[in-house]
């Protein structure tokens, strides 16, 4: 009987999984684009801009995600900005991720020798070209391990969107629990397994990407 209910609820779990993946996809894109801009801004823009970026990073890394969701979803609607829950979640996840990602990219930028940009200038590149053709490609390659880490954190944190009513994987599980409280253990074990498989497989894919785009001479060898 219980098993039947579980099998019946599989489609809704899969639905939830789809929403979770969409949430992850949109917010990682937002976070990555913003994060790259923030990091370049902090390293290469004028002092006031760099300072604003610094404040932005500090604030967004200092607020719990759920509070950020509530601010964006409920708070903004009070001043007339009505977002649906999914959009609010994407914005919240994306903004917070951008602040963490900016740190990753900035670390990568700092590890690129300064002579690289001097060499770019000496070929006649302007600042934008030097950043785009010399700094950016190296920065992104050096950032892949940190980015993979951020990706898995973001993927798992989409479950908090349940708090503002996004019907993702977590909330679908909660629906099943409400209908049939006896299933709670098995359903959430199943959900945990789904998250685990997602994280595990994306990690493996990203490790492959990391290897493929690794700069020759920058491999980290294991010393055992």
């Amino acid at each position: 009987m219980a098993l039947d209910t579980l099998i019946d609820s599989l489609p809704s779990l899969l639905n939830g999984l789809g929403v979770t993946l969409l949430l992850t996809g949109f917010s990682i894109i937002l976070g990555t684009i913003l994060g790259v801009l923030l990091a370049t801004g902090r390293s290469y823009a004028s002092r006031p801009v760099a300072y604003l970026v610094f404040i932005y990073e500090k604030v967004l890394r200092g607020i719990p995600l759920l509070v950020l969701f509530f601010l964006i979803y409920f708070g903004l609607s009070q001043i007339g900005v009505n977002l649906d829950a999914f959009t609010a979640a994407v914005i919240g996840l994306g903004l917070r991720s951008s602040a963490y990602q900016a740190q990753i990219y900035r670390g990568a930028i700092n590890s690129i020798p300064e002579g690289q940009i001097h060499a770019a200038y000496s070929l006649g590149m302007n600042k934008i070209k030097a950043i785009r053709h010399v700094i950016m490609p190296q920065m992104l390659r050096l950032s892949i391990p940190g980015w993979s880490n951020e990706f898995t954190i973001l993927l798992k944190d989409t479950s908090l969107a349940f708090g503002i009513g996004v019907i993702e994987l977590m909330r679908q599980g909660r629906y099943i629990q409400v209908r049939d409280p006896d299933l709670v253990l098995i359903v959430f074990l199943l959900i945990a397994l789904i998250y685990f498989i997602l994280v595990f497989s994306t990690n493996n894919i990203l490790r492959y990407v990391e290897k493929k785009y690794q700069m020759v001479g920058y491999q980290v060898e294991a010393h055992r």
Partner: protein, 250 residues
């Protein structure tokens, strides 16, 4: 015809004055070597010329245009000034070929194929056509520096500034780099900061001796090595000549 003119250039880092009024000129396709003790501003002078560190005071003119004029398009002018760095500064994420072609592609807006063809020619010129597809990390120091020279040459500069191009190299790798530089004599103007006295003596049209942020003396190598007017020049050349294979100067 005067191609490069450096007029009374001053530069300080913080409170520390590095260059205290440097003036000299260079003709088209001339080779000049700057020598002098460390910390006298030789490298700073090169960086002042291509504005990697803009001078505090004074002017730099290239082909009748003032580089130091804030209104001049510095990126455009840097295309005409090659720079070869002591620690190579090759782009680590690009192959040797792409290191040489990237300036052609992104600055001169050449078609990719044409740029690669041109880059291959320059790599061949420095003896590295076989290494075209290797990354900087896979090259020896001497090979890296030759890629650095090819990268500068590909832009067809009027002058190439060499900032101690062989100082970071093992002794047995220095020769290849110096040979490449020798082969460029008379084809492009070169301003070279180096401690290679044998090279300076054989190759330079003129030697500039700098100390304490000023030019102490300059002249043709023969005169400088055998008959320097100023005692300090004689002393320096005598000491460093003994250290750095003066005998090969012959």
């Amino acid at each position: 015809m005067v191609m490069l003119e450096v007029k009374n250039v001053y530069k300080s880092y913080g409170d520390v004055p590095i260059l205290k009024g440097v003036t000299f000129t260079m003709q088209k396709d001339q080779t000049k070597v700057i020598i002098g003790p460390s910390g006298t501003g030789k490298s700073t002078l090169l960086r002042c010329i291509n504005q990697l560190s803009p001078p505090d005071k004074g002017q730099v003119w290239l082909n009748g245009k003032e580089i130091t004029d804030p209104k001049s398009d510095i990126n455009k002018m840097r295309e005409k000034i090659g720079f070869v760095f002591q620690d190579f500064n090759l782009f680590n994420h690009l192959t040797a070929l792409r290191n040489v072609s990237i300036g052609l592609e992104k600055v001169k807006k050449m078609e990719k194929d044409a740029a690669h063809k041109r880059a291959t020619q320059e790599l061949t010129r420095v003896g590295l056509e076989a290494q075209a597809n290797q990354y900087p990390a896979q090259l020896s120091g001497g090979q890296k520096q030759r890629v650095g020279i090819a990268r500068a040459l590909a832009m067809e500069p009027d002058i190439i500034l060499f900032d101690e191009p062989t100082s970071a190299l093992d002794p047995e790798l220095i020769g290849d780099v110096l040979d490449v530089m020798k082969s460029l004599c008379g084809k492009v103007a070169m301003l070279i900061v180096t401690h290679e006295m044998g090279f300076a003596r054989n190759v330079a049209d003129e030697i500039i001796f700098m100390e304490g942020g000023v030019i102490v003396e300059q002249g043709p190598p023969k005169e400088m090595f055998t008959n320097a007017r100023i005692a300090r020049t004689r002393e320096f050349l005598g000491r460093i000549g003994a250290l750095y294979g003066e005998e090969e100067g012959g």
